[in-house]
Symmetry: none
Subunit: 196 residues, 4 copies
């Protein structure tokens, strides 16, 4: 089997298993069994359980970061770009539950490493949001708010959305929609709400 494909296949299964059972609740044999391969094979591609977990997390986080980047690039105009960032998070949480969940699991298991992971996404987010906000303020469509605080608020809101997504699902609840969040945000920051 092609090494890249095998590596990717292991990562897929590891993501699924770790997402379902957490790091401590999963074992290497279980991942191997689920793939129908030998335990030793996993170690040909990853040096340890921790490395496998973190590789799976990293891939998830990069996937999220790419999703955001792609959608922001596609969107035109500050309002649409903001909606794109919010939408990217919600869609990512819904469509890639394993990926979203493993990101949240990392937070509890490897705090120090999670810092880096977290900043991979959120520093990107921050960059985009600050640009958009500054542009909008200069342009006169946004109120002259403290850009950094506003950005941090939205970052927390989006992080909270991902961290609570699975929790809500366990209760058959749905969180706020992209539209609701976007409206909420714009109502707060727009200079003239009535352009909505």
């Amino acid at each position: 089997m092609n090494p890249d494909a095998r590596r990717s296949q292991i990562l897929d299964m590891a993501t699924r298993v770790f997402s379902e059972s957490g790091y401590g609740g999963s074992d290497m044999q279980g991942i191997a069994d689920a793939l129908g391969i030998a335990k030793g094979t996993i170690y040909l591609y990853f040096n340890s359980k921790k490395e496998l977990f973190l590789a799976a997390t990293l891939r998830a986080i990069e996937n999220l970061a790419n999703t955001i980047k792609r959608e922001v690039k596609t969107a035109s105009g500050p309002l649409e770009k903001i909606r794109a960032i919010i939408g990217a998070h919600l869609r990512f949480s819904s469509e890639n539950r394993d990926l979203a969940e493993i990101i949240a699991r990392e937070r509890g298991e490897f705090l120090a490493h999670a810092e880096e992971t977290y900043y991979k996404v959120f520093s990107e987010n921050t960059k985009y949001l600050e640009e958009i906000l500054r542009y909008g303020i200069t342009d006169g469509i946004f109120r002259d708010t403290d850009v950094e605080q506003t950005t941090a608020i939205l970052a927390n809101l989006l992080a909270g959305t991902i961290f609570t997504h699975t929790l809500r699902q366990g209760r058959n609840e749905t969180g706020p929609s992209t539209d609701a969040i976007t409206d909420f945000l714009l109502n707060s920051i727009l200079y003239e709400r009535n352009i909505l």
Copy 2:
């Protein structure tokens, strides 16, 4: 030693140790050592490591819930009550890092149990917020928004604030202030922003 005091002492240390090292990264011997007692003694008060961890988490969560309840009761008027809820979360994160951190750790380790924990706080939050919002809408000071969505948004924002608090600290960053979040929220939901 008074049994309740000993139990409480063990919970305190467990909270500290689990907060620092996570569930998988902590061991019973370490907690006993830190207390200067024998490992077996812990088992006189808690049946298992998991039970100890969840008891510590539960206490943390109740502490947060009580903090919120107390401050909301003290505050007068919808605006002040909203500010109190937000402030309670931020102050709790700052002043009780261990407690905030163990709540975040539980999310990654015991997902199913975390659902309950989470709802202990957030259903309370939700109840208060929905009341406040409905009251404010009826009263005409808030726009006529979808109350459930708005509540869910704020819940996510506050959860994100707790979950990212330690992460930010690792980077020597501070998150948004109570004032910033409150202003942000009110600007969005107030019927007339200029009353601020």
Copy 3:
């Protein structure tokens, strides 16, 4: 059970098992089984298999060094002291096969560590022998040989005696006797052989 006694008991069995099967050929479970205790118990006293092995070796080497020291002290006169050193090695090999064997095993398994072990005994030997030889030369009973070379020769002879002891036993052969070695040595170094 008394911790020192237990530690000692584990060391005894480890010495026996490692002597019989070598380091690679032994496993911790086997040692535990032979003692009728749990594997984990061994780890309460020794942190790793290697540490257990080296502790057993160290004890063996100290035992040999003490045997030599005791017998040299007891013997009176240079000729008797020399005989005592030689006799101590031969008796040690015969009466403490496990101990002699584990010393030889260490040589093959942990070369770097064996250096230290080896010098624990042989620097002691060297010290005694050089003293005795110098004394005898000054006194006129020994020829004026190169003391360091002669000492090194006897050290090699005694090391060879220990290292080959088990090998010879496997062939039902006996090595040279204390008397033979002593006579051999004295015939070489005495100024006048006929005092023998």
Copy 4:
């Protein structure tokens, strides 16, 4: 590549690696890597790790035995033949460290097999030495000692020389020289020392 050459090349590298790291400390992958060949290739020439190790040891032993035989044959007269045997061991230890070291390693790892190995060399030694001694005694140049004991003593001395060679090197020490050992021996066994 010529099969014999490849086999030989593998044995060379195996000897080096096993000499440096011991049997347990070496792995087949490491040997293959050092040769720049695939691990599986080694198994085309040797059926197992143990077989490879023992083949390397056997070759080393035969090399030593041949060295001795060659030098004994070349030397003329009992005194020179004795010097040749001693010199062969010392030169072998110095010039073929890997070979000498793997012989010592085998002693600790495969005791039963080492018996055979050991006797390959030492029975040869014994044969030569006993012949020489008996000849010298009959001839009147050697004292009438117990030939077997004297032979065993020299065998132990030479074995000890090989087993301690690497140990001494780790301490930057040199063992006794060929001349010193030969003089020592002859002073002991010669009927008239003054012919030296």
